[in-house]
């Protein structure tokens, strides 16, 4: 994946001083772990996650803010990681799909609902969908179907036709923390 051709030297200035070097040391907290990586200043957060940190759950679709496959939470806010320059992520707290489940053995209720309701097919849109659903449920714990459509409007899916995604999110709020077994798969 390209970082859009940063071939030459980057000088980086902050209000606290000037230093010139080609790469920067990026410090951020990813899924609860303090992380330092050395990256191009204009690498996208998406590249940092996938290439430097090998968190490949975050996907790239369009690279232009239209598809939501790259959605992550940045300081709790849902953003497109393809539109966040690495420097902008300095000192932030990022949650990716890898950080959503409470443990290796248990899924988050939104993830479980996607499993139960068949909310994922090829799975490319699923990480972004789940983070968008989590951001929605934080803001609005009992959304109507219209609010779910609105909340997921920035996430495209080419497989499911969306209906099962919407019912997954509805199921997740009904489940109210408890995981449901079986379901209509």
């Amino acid at each position: 994946m390209s970082t859009h051709g940063h071939d030459s030297h980057h000088a980086t200035t902050t209000s606290s001083g000037t230093f010139t070097r080609p790469l920067i040391e990026l410090r951020l907290r990813v899924n609860g772990i303090d992380t330092v990586c050395v990256v191009h200043p204009m690498a996208r957060l998406l590249d940092v996650l996938r290439e430097s940190l090998h968190l490949s759950g975050t996907k790239e679709g369009c690279g232009e803010g239209e598809c939501g496959a790259c959605a992550v939470l940045l300081n709790g806010e849902l953003v497109c990681s393809c539109l966040v320059p690495a420097l902008q992520a300095m000192g932030t707290e990022v949650t990716t799909i890898e950080g959503v489940a409470p443990s290796l053995a248990t899924l988050d209720r939104v993830q479980q609902a996607f499993v139960d309701c068949g909310g994922a097919q090829c799975g490319i849109c699923t990480p972004g969908m789940i983070l968008a659903a989590k951001a929605l449920l934080t803001r609005c714990p009992q959304p109507t179907e219209a609010e779910i459509r609105e909340g997921l409007a920035g996430n495209l899916c080419r497989c499911t036709g969306y209906t099962k995604i919407f019912s997954s999110v509805l199921r997740a709020c009904q489940a109210d923390g408890a995981t449901t077994e079986g379901g209509e798969r």
């Binding site: 051709g5 200035t13 902050t14 939501g68 806010e77 849902l78 497109c80 320059p85 909340g151 409007a153």
Partner: protein, 365 residues
């Protein structure tokens, strides 16, 4: 993308200083960066310095990222003198205003209680822009100042007039999403949805300059080529090196209403084919006409957010709501339209959204 210096600032004064420090070299201001990143990636802009205006880190506060109500008594004179007069010829009346900082995001605007209650056109417009992910990052000033979406302009392969070339590729090319008004030099439509709403709400923009601040009505801010001697390279009256700091919006009186509607190709998020904002002020009963003030601004149809003056005049003459009068107002909304080969559909569409807005606002006015 070229290599550039990244400079972080948290105040408008610092931003102006940095922009002018770069004079001679080129500098570009970035707020949310949604539009700027797109332009950098396509090579439309190749600044030597990127001046990043961001909110101060947690703890310190800045009016640039706040929405606050300013009572008339505390409103600076520089703003008061630009407020609309109650009646034509009167002196401007002091009014309570809402002040929105340049770095306030579209998501903040769409969910702010005062905006939802008192300035619904703005809340609705902000909510209709892009997606939740974009609205969480995109700022109000960035939305007003984003460059047009004309696909020839956005592609590095076409050196069109807006980039200093001598040809408009849209005039005889793929122009289905282009302007139907004022489109002979450059037919790109103004992209900002927030501008359409802010214009019917009489917003005032405050600008940081090298020597202080200046204020101007948003209604005099956007310009098309025909309004500036054929210069198509800019869409507004922000001078190089200046930075928007705040918007002031007079809070409406109880007899005023506003709303915003957007027509698009997709059911889910999409750029508008045509969008409209309307604000009206009811006339006292027995006045003969229904309204004493009306503003209609249409987006997606012209190089600037388009004030539909003939439709406003027809609306002001309205004495009762019936289908013939609405049809006449709608017809007036497309007065002066000169569609290109592929965007003729925008004429009836513009009439349709205006008709819908008029009926909707009068049925709950």
């Amino acid at each position: 993308m070229n290599a550039f210096t990244w400079v972080e600032v948290t105040t408008a004064e610092q931003a102006v200083a940095q922009l002018s420090a770069a004079r001679g070299g080129s500098a570009l201001l970035k707020a949310g960066g949604i539009d700027v990143l797109d332009r950098l990636k396509e090579g439309l802009d190749a600044p030597e310095r990127l001046i990043v205006l961001r909110r101060p880190t947690a703890g310190s506060k800045s009016t640039l990222s706040e929405i606050s109500e300013i009572p008339a008594s505390r409103l600076p004179d520089s703003i008061t003198r630009l407020l609309p007069a109650g009646n034509a010829g009167d002196a401007p009346q002091p009014r309570d205003c809402l002040r929105i900082g340049a770095l306030v995001t579209l998501a903040q605007i769409a969910s702010h209680p005062t905006i939802l209650r008192a300035l619904p056109a703005l809340a609705q417009a902000a909510h209709a822009i892009a997606t939740p992910q974009i609205r969480a990052v995109a700022t109000i000033a960035g939305n007003l100042l984003q460059r047009p979406r004309c696909w020839y302009f956005r592609s590095a392969d076409f050196h069109c007039r807006k980039k200093g070339g001598d040809e408009c590729f849209a005039l005889d090319g793929e122009n289905e999403y282009h302007a139907i008004f004022d489109n002979r030099t450059c037919a790109a439509v103004h992209p900002s949805g927030a501008a359409v709403a802010l214009l019917v709400l009489d917003a005032i923009v405050e600008i940081q300059t090298a020597s202080g601040t200046r204020q101007q009505r948003l209604s005099a801010f956007f310009v098309s080529a025909s309004q500036q001697g054929g210069d198509v390279k800019r869409e507004n009256r922000l001078e190089p090196g200046e930075v928007i700091t705040h918007l002031y919006i007079p809070l409406p009186s109880p007899d005023e209403r506003s709303l915003y509607l957007k027509s698009k190709q997709k059911q889910s998020f999409d750029w508008p084919l045509c969008e409209v904002a309307i604000s009206v002020r009811r006339a006292p009963s027995g006045a003969g006409s229904l309204l004493q003030a009306a503003r209609i601004v249409v987006g997606g149809v012209a190089p600037i957010p388009w004030r539909a003056k003939a439709a406003e005049a027809a609306l002001l003459r309205l004495s009762k709501l019936d289908i013939e009068s609405v049809r006449a107002i709608a017809q007036a909304a497309s007065d002066g339209a000169r569609p290109l080969a592929k965007n003729g559909y925008k004429v009836p569409l513009c009439q349709g959204v205006v008709a819908q807005a008029v009926m909707q606002i009068l049925s709950n006015a």
